[in-house]
């Protein structure tokens, strides 16, 4: 019978496409994960060069991170830049995120576009533009210059994530606090802050990691200041060591750990909130 024949042929073709789709999907998954796997493999190599280990494994490159003085300086610089940039990004982006969620005012769309523009525009263009201004101010080559550019670079994360957090808090709770005579500061400290601290923590985390990994802005305005990515770039020119892989894995584990903690905090925050509602 031709009917069953074609149906059989069809299901055969179906199985064939299912099979090839699964193979392609798995191959693409490997392709996507390759950098993660390679960096993890290189970080435990027993050899001397930035390579996938062939025979012996060792953890000495993790020890090298703290022992090598020029890595220590670079990490200290990147930590300082990351923390200071994050604090300023929170102080500048937080209030603006609140205004964007709670008020309507003339030019709101413009302010919002401006606030997310550093995330949208190509970093090289921003870096080139900021380099010219910072050169006029003779600030290039200082840590202050890197911090200024990084505050701009990471601030959109605060504006977006804290904005989402603020939007999720019922404005009526604040209105109630105001009507009971709470000052703005009290309402912020006692009502808003406890409700949005998970968003603050997750945006701060994202800000810090983005600043720590940022290369292009630091390359333009940083001059001789050695940050971690700039040190890696310098090393690339003569000899690449597995230390950077170990450093990257450590930073990733730290981020995943902190992000996990932030998610847990967020869950607990939600529980506290639901208790408040009941």
């Amino acid at each position: 019978m031709t009917g069953t024949h074609t149906r059989a042929a069809r299901s055969f073709i179906g199985m064939l496409t299912d099979g090839s789709l699964a193979i392609a999907g798995l191959a693409l998954l490997c392709f996507a994960l390759m950098p993660v796997l390679v960096v993890a493999a290189v970080s435990v190599t027993g050899g001397e060069s930035f390579d996938i280990p062939t025979d012996d494994l060792s953890l000495r490159w993790y020890a090298e991170i703290v022992q090598d003085t020029h890595w220590r300086t670079a990490i200290l610089n990147s930590l300082t830049i990351g923390i200071v940039s994050t604090v300023f990004a929170l102080l500048l982006g937080g209030p603006a995120a609140y205004a964007a969620q709670r008020y309507s005012f003339p030019g709101k769309a413009l302010v919002e576009t401006l606030a997310v523009s550093p995330l949208v525009l190509p970093t090289v263009a921003i870096a080139a533009a900021q380099y010219l201004v910072l050169a006029k101010l003779q600030l290039n080559g200082t840590m202050i210059a890197i911090i200024i550019t990084h505050v701009v670079y990471v601030m959109p994360f605060v504006f977006i994530i804290c904005g989402l957090g603020i939007a999720a808090v019922d404005p009526l709770i604040e209105t109630a606090a105001f009507s009971l005579g709470a000052s703005r500061w009290t309402a912020f400290r006692r009502i808003l802050l406890p409700n949005i601290y998970p968003s603050i923590i997750s945006s701060a985390l994202l800000c810090f990691v983005s600043s720590f990994d940022e290369l292009v802005l630091a390359l333009f305005v940083g001059g001789g200041v050695q940050t971690v990515p700039l040190t890696i770039l310098g090393e690339l020119k003569y000899e690449l060591k597995p230390t950077i892989a170990a450093l990257s894995v450590s930073l990733s584990l730290l981020t995943v750990g902190l992000a996990g903690m932030a998610i847990l905090l967020m869950r607990r925050g939600r529980i506290a909130l639901s208790r408040l509602a009941s």
Binding site: F50, A96, A99, V133
Partner: protein, 286 residues
């Protein structure tokens, strides 16, 4: 009016409060984004002979034009390769059971935790002279001498596609999941083969999102600096690398500024186009 639920706590009217809350950020961004971008536009027009001298100089230089053309061509190749990869991957994920779906999506987000620089560098142990691919090919006896797989346009395309893969896959996955499965089931029950269902029902439904993703990937790829400078090995010069070379290392601010403006115009047009393609309803209304 929808947002004015809070009658401000004290005697501070809404407008004053929003000005006070916005002022620090707006002032800061005016000084660090608006003024610098205005400045670079000004520099690009400050040619010695006439306002457009920098642009004319740039157009007259074959090296400069070659860099812009290479950037555009590689951008197109990267966007097609990346979107094709992401499309096939999303098709596969769509059919997976829910638990496997979460694992697959989680896995492609994992590379975000590794910096751009390290993700570019990770191709050296794979494609390099003594890399994994060459070692495998040599040991199987397929080749006698190692192939040069890195520091060429191929490596740049592969590295950039790798970084942009999750960025393309996430919107495509969202679009694929929005397709009403009942439409596909109805077509199947009416006797349509899988090829016909894909071609006549599924693909037309996801085509706008696919096109918008392709254009978005193109835009982002044209602004990439790190991946091409590491994997191009100085041999593949793209617009962002030339901007860095001109402005930062050579101090040729005029032509550098002109190139930055060209890059920004290409980038912004592509982003606007991607948004338009992604929202066909908005286009119809206007």
């Amino acid at each position: 009016m929808a947002r004015r639920q809070i009658s401000s706590g004290f005697d501070m009217p809404d407008n004053k409060a929003s000005v006070a809350l916005n002022a620090p950020l707006v002032l800061f961004l005016l000084l660090t984004i608006v003024v610098p971008l205005g400045g670079i536009f000004f520099f690009s027009l400050a040619g010695e002979a006439h306002p457009f001298a920098n642009y004319a100089d740039a157009l007259a230089s074959p090296a400069f034009v070659r860099v812009v053309v290479t950037t555009l061509i590689l951008g197109v190749i990267v966007s097609i390769v990346t979107t094709t990869f992401a499309f096939v991957f999303s098709l596969w994920v769509l059919r997976l059971p829910p638990r496997a779906k979460i694992i697959a999506v989680g896995a492609i987000i994992l590379p975000f935790f590794v910096s751009y620089l390290l993700r570019a560098l990770s191709w050296i142990p794979v494609l390099g002279f003594n890399g994994l691919v060459n070692r495998i090919l040599m040991s199987t006896g397929l080749i006698e001498t190692p192939l040069s797989l890195i520091y060429n346009p191929f490596a740049v395309v592969l590295g950039t596609a790798n970084v942009l893969f999750p960025i393309a896959a996430l919107p495509l996955l969202a679009a694929f999941h929005k397709v009403d499965q009942r439409l596909l089931a109805a077509a199947s029950s009416l006797g349509a083969s899988r090829a016909v269902i894909f071609r006549r029902i599924f693909f037309p439904l996801v085509a706008p999102a696919t096109l918008s993703t392709t254009v978005m990937v193109f835009a982002v790829a044209t602004g990439f600096y790190i991946t091409p400078s590491v994997l191009g090995g100085g041999k593949v010069l793209l617009a962002p690398n030339l901007i860095e070379l001109l402005i930062h290392r050579r101090g040729e601010w005029g032509t550098g500024a002109a190139l930055t403006i060209v890059l920004l115009v290409v980038y912004m047009s592509a982003i606007v186009l991607a948004r338009r393609l992604g929202n066909p309803s908005r286009r119809r209304r206007s």
